[in-house]
């Protein structure tokens, strides 16, 4: 669920050291990274857990992807080797093979116009130093290009990793657009396409210090928090965000409702996106109390608005609400979910939720509210999110939402 390219123009430079920080800037998207590092002696391919102690080998160019949705494939032809990484359900083996055999421009054209690549974003490196980074014509995955002084070209799914590598974001690829080159050129192909970037990127996946397709993720979330407050018919004294990734929404919510925003919880785990963790439901619940320990005193006899940035099974929220009622004396607990209802698994692999566990797929709002034991419940209105992004030139994909 994320791609990275780090390409230094001088081959004695160590891109691995920079790409390390780029991957760190993507690791909120998942627990495994697959990578290939190209140096004067060829490729080194590997896999790592960026949440553990890890590192990258030396080389002047690196490609990396956050698995499982990002998959890596290699191919060889006439002594040329290619490593490709595709994010999404598109044929990565085929891309690697095409790039091993063909002219770079033809590969780029195929990537941006071929139907089999239409949903995906891809990055590939060839042993002769050629690279490509592009989006299929209706790619759900964003991709930004950046530069680092006179030294390097960067590309990443969002802009924060580019900045963490010392670079400046310069250009956001559109749907059906790719850049390709080597030490001696940098070119672009563009076919009519659309920025069908997944709404899930804005709502959940990207970091709030990133721009996605040129849109500030933070500004989007704060504005959606405001919109939520405007439709939420609830009298509240205090607003809290759970988990802390919901805080930008909570800020907007509190601002629009003119009520106090509090830090409601402290995490013992750091910024782990538990919804993405490769763990069972039980384990997830076990992590919960470590992740969301309530701050004593702020809930007592108050009407609380909890702003949550994702409700899958609702179990997290239910547990939190119970705790606030049983141990912290909350009078009323109102729930504002800062994402639209998620009702199916993404067929483009942007999220990989288990459909049978999606509460919004099976229950009415009224029943969800009963399960959660909430005094009221609102979801982010899809049309507000879409309207906001359309105004910024993005036509978001909302297929899994309602």
């Amino acid at each position: 669920m994320g791609l990275l390219l780090t390409y230094f123009y001088e081959i004695d430079q160590d891109a691995g050291k920079y790409a390390y920080y780029g991957v760190m800037g993507l690791r909120h998207r998942g627990y495994r990274v697959v990578y290939a590092v190209l140096g004067p002696n060829g490729f080194e391919i590997g896999e790592a857990n960026p949440w553990s102690e890890w590192g990258l080998p030396s080389g002047y160019a690196v490609i990396a992807g956050i698995s499982p949705t990002a998959r890596l494939a290699t191919s060889r032809h006439n002594g040329r080797r290619v490593v490709a990484i595709i994010d999404g359900p598109c044929p990565v083996e085929k891309l690697a093979e095409t790039m091993a055999k063909n002219d770079l421009r033809d590969v780029a054209e195929e990537l941006v116009s071929g139907d089999e690549y239409r949903w995906c974003a891809a990055i590939a490196l060839r042993s002769d130093g050629a690279f490509i980074a592009g989006r299929g014509k209706e790619s759900r995955r964003p991709l930004s290009i950046g530069g680092y002084g006179f030294e390097a070209l960067y590309a990443a799914t969002e802009t924060a990793p580019i900045i963490l590598m010392g670079g400046s974001p310069r250009y956001d690829l559109g749907g059906g657009e790719a850049v390709y080159g080597d030490r001696y050129s940098l070119d672009r192909v563009h076919v009519p396409g659309r920025r069908r970037t997944s709404l899930f990127e804005y709502v959940y996946l990207a970091r709030p210090d990133s721009l996605v397709d040129g849109v500030s993720v933070y500004a989007f979330r704060r504005e959606m928090g405001r919109q939520l407050a405007l439709i939420h018919d609830a009298d509240v004294d205090v607003v809290v965000g759970v988990p802390e990734t919901a805080i930008p929404y909570a800020i907007g919510y509190a601002e629009a409702k003119h009520v106090r925003l509090e830090q409601g919880f402290v995490s013992t785990l750091g910024r782990v996106r538990t919804a993405l963790a490769p763990v069972s439901l039980e384990e997830r619940l076990m992590m919960l109390s470590l992740k969301l320990n309530p701050v004593p005193g702020i809930f007592e006899d108050k009407s609380i608005a909890i702003v949550d940035d994702s409700v899958v099974t609702g179990l997290t929220l239910k547990t939190v609400i119970q705790r606030l009622r049983r141990l912290h004396g909350a009078r009323e607990v109102h729930v504002a979910v800062s994402s639209p209802r998620i009702i199916s698994r993404c067929r483009f692999g942007v999220q990989l939720v288990d459909e049978s566990s999606l509460i919004a797929r099976y229950l009415s709002d009224e029943d969800v509210s009963r399960v959660l034991d909430a005094d009221s419940l609102v979801w982010l209105p899809l049309r507000e999110a879409v309207r906001f992004l359309r105004e910024h030139g993005v036509e978001p994909c909302t297929e899994c939402m309602r």
Partner: protein
Amino acid sequence: MRPSLPRVLLVGSGAREHAIALLLAGSPEEPEIAAVMDHFNPGIAEVAEKTGGRVYLAKTTSADSVLLVAEEYSPDLVVVGPEEPLFAGIANKLREKGFTVFGPDKELARIEKDKVFARSLMWRHGIPGRLRYKAFRDPEEASKYARVAGDVVVKPARQAGGSGVRIFAEPYEHLSKLARSVASEYVSAVAEKVKAKYSDMDYLVLVEERVDGVEYTVMTVTDGDSVVALPVVQDHPHVYPFDIGPETGGMGAIAGPCWTLPFITEEEYSESIEIIRKTIDALRSEIGKPYVGALSGQMMLTGFWGPTLIEYYSRFGDPEISALLFLLESSFLELLDRAASRRLAGYKLSIKCDQYVVVKAVAPSGYPLERARARGHPVAVDKDIVEKLGCELLYGGVDKNSTGDLVSTGSRLAEIVCPSDKGFEDASKRAEKAIAGIWLRDGHPLIHRWDIGSRVLLEQRVAMARRARISYTRRREKGLMAIYDWVPGQGLVKYNYE
């Protein structure tokens, strides 16, 4: 002007000199233009032929060779285009022999050649827009310094044709160890290189503070007393689109409408000119001679000081001067001639205020990292394509090979210059089409920057300039014209920029 048709001898063979030749040829005085060049530039040759002049091939860094040509041709005015002949003292030699020369003597051209001299002059004279720096004679010592300094730019102390400058940005602390270790290796390598190549340098390498901001160039013409500023031009030093990739001599430029660019205010423009004016005065007082020629400032609008000087050119910028082709209204010959004969006082330059100009350089793939790849390819040109679009083609890195065919020299091959009264995007689009007017016969690819003049790029510049402005305005309003550092154990250090 003198009564008979004036005769001009132009020194140099690049795209800049082609532009100067065209600018001179367009003057109402209809001068005859001859040129002395190192390699055969067909564009300059064409201008020479049309105006009744001629071309000479000679080593332009050899004062004696150029003098021979000048004595033979006997021009009313000699215009020296590139910096290397100036560094070599061509202007001195010709002036001694009584020629009227546009281009500074070598003691004054040192302002470009010797970057340590330039920086230290600014500090000695309190010229605004200066940066902190440290210069080294010892590679070892430089290396040690770079290891602790952080967030610096390393420059060879001797100007070496736009190469060797490297930025070791540390926008974030987590990158500092990495950047510093590379910087310290690099700085000693550069120092060794300068030491091996140039015997005439006091210092070898310069390490200066890195600044951020929008770059632009202000070119001026001066006779040592009066200063005439040309419109602001923006160069594009990165080789690839979106300001990505290695440094080049400049992959293109934009200028217009009128005196400044949409992201530089009139005041910032005036302040930039003031920096150059003060530099001319400072040079006069230290060297004891008037600066006669072009003095350009490659500037950056920074959050610290507003207009900040990155580098001086003792000449017109390339590709900056090319933009003037479609902006100038006055006689270029009169401008250069009055400067060269020290009669510039009272001169008023007029330009067109409804034109947007885009310049795009075209280079054989391989430039700038491996020039050998870019060299020796046969060049073909269809000038009609370019001219039908209302654009101009300037020859740069081309030469005649032994069989008389035009081949690439490995540098920027040519420049396409297009004007528009509609905007940069329109000019840029035309330049994109006009680029079809030049290609390499052997199919070797040409590169250029399709993004120059684009809205995206312009918006980025506007945003960057706005941020810098917020920051430097605050500094000025509060009178904070010093920087303080506190080093534990060493105490408070003050750098006064007043």
